[in-house]
Symmetry: C2
Subunit: 105 residues, 2 copies
DNA sequence: TCCATCCTTCTAGAATTATGGAACAAGAAG
DNA sequence: CTTCTTGTTCCATAATTCTAGAAGGATGGA
């Protein structure tokens, strides 16, 4: 993963509201959750919610699929896994004998 | 971890420059790296660098220790581990039979 | 004491992000 | 065709963040 992509994803998650959205989707699992239900849960205006969801979709952390009128959002588990790997990649690369050492995740 | 703490840490990492700083410190391992060496590596003005480091220290992702005139920065590995755990905590909690299911990390 | 090194804080302007009302778009139901 | 539901986009404002020069503070050596 390129550093800019990683930063963009971390930034997307680095906002209380977006993190709440993402966590709700993680809890919902592969079934996902419609935008409307997220709105009920988080009690925020539709436009604000839509902006935040868009931000998460843009960086690939969330994907969407339409089911007639409702739009289902799902957490993209692979994306966050890649992010986690990136954070610990090359741990202690410049240090010899680190027990956590690894060159790539 | 409280959601606000998690969001603060993610936001801190969600900036290209700060992520570069953090990654450099991860690579440096437990030995850490002085502020000055980070400046050489990243080629950014001292004041800008200092602000970013401060942001990382404030949220607990980086710790510092003085060695006469030089200030050594170290990545706080536990902090990022807690963050990672938080991201995947309660995965699929509302879904039955998810292979990744877990209630806490 | 004087000076150099190393890093922080002050300050301020530029740029970006967050928020939410209002209007809009598209599908479904009557 | 009208209306309801569902969600997005437009727009403007408020708030925050980023950047970096300049000044300041602390430490160590000559």
């Amino acid at each position: 993963m390129k550093i800019d992509d990683a930063a963009a994803r971390l930034e997307a998650l680095g906002n209380r509201t977006r993190l709440q959205i993402y966590r709700a989707l993680v809890r919902a699992g592969h079934a996902g959750m419609p935008v409307g239900r997220l709105q009920d849960k988080l009690k925020i205006p539709a436009s604000t919610l839509s902006h935040h969801i868009k931000a998460l979709v843009l960086v690939g952390l969330v994907s969407q699929s339409r089911e007639s009128t409702t739009l289902i959002c799902r957490a993209n588990f692979d994306a966050v896994r890649g992010l986690v790997d990136f954070l610990v990649a090359e741990c202690c690369a410049e240090e010899t004998g680190c027990r956590d050492a690894q060159t790539a995740a």
